[in-house]
């Protein structure tokens, strides 16, 4: 990434994709915790199934402080009724690429495309030039490589 490091955000949105790939739920919960530790207000948007996986894993909402419907959140941002400083879009399929491209278009915040899954390289190529900061790691079950790469971004805000 040759672009300047964005300022530390005050607000963030984690946009969940299809929960088919195990890495997503783990990374999303970890990212909620990591953002919270940095004092960043975090909203999570997803389909009912994707949200349910998080809510069952965090029943007392220690990390999930604000959760909403994917479509409703996108409508609010497209209508200018809501926005955030940073959007983290979790991507493993081509629909995820389209969601990230849309967020880069409608949100004034920085869009981070967190790409995982077996076709991560292909997805990363598809998203080139669409205004997203790309963090891509191949793999579906082990969240640690993606966690390490995302942690580098979070740490860069404090540098």
């Amino acid at each position: 990434m040759n672009e300047p490091v964005p300022q530390k955000p005050e607000t963030a949105l984690i946009l969940l994709g299809c929960p088919q790939v195990p890495v997503q739920t783990s990374i999303a919960l970890w990212l909620c915790a990591a953002l919270k530790k940095q004092g960043i207000t975090c909203l999570v948007g997803g389909t009912p199934a994707a949200r349910s996986l998080l809510e069952v894993a965090d029943p007392d909402h220690h990390y999930l402080t604000n959760v909403g419907d994917l479509d409703a959140i996108i409508e609010e941002i497209a209508d200018g009724k809501r926005d955030v400083d940073a959007v983290f879009v979790l991507i493993h399929n081509d629909a995820g690429v389209a969601y990230a491209a849309t967020m880069a278009e409608i949100s004034a915040g920085t869009t981070y495309a967190l790409i995982f899954g077996d076709a991560a390289e292909e997805r990363a190529q598809e998203i080139e030039g669409l205004g997203c900061r790309v963090i891509a790691v191949k793999g579906s079950h082990n969240p640690l490589p993606l966690k390490r790469k995302v942690q580098e971004v979070l740490s860069s805000w404090d540098a």
């Binding site: 199934a49 994707a50 629909a95 389209a98 969601y99 278009e105 598809e126």
Partner: protein, 97 residues
């Protein structure tokens, strides 16, 4: 699909890529209009990789519709009012000016 799910739609292509959807619209629709992601169609923000194409034949619209788990569908919906609105607000790319 929100309000689009309630429309009387026909699925032209399942699991379409955006280039594939755009190619279909350019080749098969009398008119094509270019919009950005987030553009409202049937009061719903379009998800997509820019530029997103909407095709029109008379009162019938052809457009991509994306769901997180099911990918992108190319849909065809007849709606005279929405077709008229798109003709006014979107950038026409076919036929070119």
């Amino acid at each position: 699909m929100g309000c689009i799910e309630k429309l009387d739609y026909e699925v032209l292509i399942r699991h379409a890529s955006f280039p594939e959807a755009a190619k279909y619209i350019r080749s098969n629709c009398a008119e094509a209009y270019e919009v950005r992601p987030g553009f409202k169609i049937f009061d719903k923000a379009m998800i997509g990789i820019p530029p997103v194409l909407i095709g029109i034949d008379g009162d019938t619209l052809t457009f991509p519709f994306t769901k997180p788990c099911h990918g992108t569908f190319l849909l065809r919906v007849e709606d005279a009012a929405e077709a008229a609105r798109i003709r006014i607000v979107a950038k026409r790319v076919k036929p070119s000016h």
